[in-house]
Amino acid sequence: MMGLIFLLVVGVYVLVSIGVVKGSIAYAQKNGKSVKRWGWGAALVMYLIPFWDWIPTVAVHQYYCATEAGFWVYKTPEQWMKENPGVMETLVANKGASSRYESFDDEHGKSDIYLLNNRFNWIVTQQDYSSALPIIRSEQQVKDARTSEVLARYVDFGTGNSVKNTIGPPGPLKFWLHSGHCNGGGQNQDALRDFRNIFFGEQK
């Protein structure tokens, strides 16, 4: 039903846009002004009302992807096991998905801290990264809870949604802005998950 309402709204907007452009052309003809300038100007305004943030969002998303996104391993499982002999074998996975939730930045950010076992945490954070554009920064860390040392980290950026405002625009309406990851972000997320799985501990 929402899809049909959406199509109806788009159809009405297209009709209104055509009317506005035709009206502008008629006004220009009547008042001796440039028909091309008024016609294209009106069309541009009607285009920019829904699409003004498209190009800036794509540009800023690509910038953040190029400068901040990636997957980093600061300490391999082998290195950690060498520094903590015999500990890995004693880890027992917590049942279910035990986690602690933290909200920050006036609800523009959220962190779920999963307690994998009595030694390791998996921290999943999402944060609105721009006040004007719908860009979300996602970060995941595998952390040694005893030493607070981050063993691996993954950073990614998605567009078209907001952590604080999950329902209203841009939300699901501006579907053309939707992008879940940077290029290669999905693979990085899988790599972090594979890394995390090593530290889950024995399932009992």
């Binding site: 039903m1 929402m2 899809g3 049909l4 279910g96 998905a97 986690s99 939730y101 959220k110 779920d112 999963y114 994998l116 998996w122 999943v124 999402q126 979300i136 996602s138 998605g158 078209g160 949604n161 907001s162 952590v163 999950t166 329902i167 699901p172 579907f175 053309w176 802005l177 939707h178 992008s179 879940g180 990851h181 999905g186 693979q187 997320q189 899988d190 998950r193």
Partner: protein
Amino acid sequence: MTTVVDLFQQAELAEAAYASFFSNSGVLLTADADVKTALRDTNNNGNFSEAQATSFVSQWKVVDQYIGPTSLGGLVGSGFSATLFRDTTTGAYTFALRGT
């Protein structure tokens, strides 16, 4: 007779069907922590609160999911998605479909 509790569960399952439970390499994620993260992944249609997601994974397991292929940001393709959940208490299966 359908009760308010039934309706709540059905609405919750329909909402959960919007989330993607696949890894980027196409592996179905069924571990509770992964399901919970998918339900809360704002970038990928997961809009559950932490409490909602915690409650959900304590009752339901993801058995399988189908997501229809789309392109051009969802403009091309049906957007169809269906997920099979299993109630961990009763063992009953529920087939949940994404809305239009």
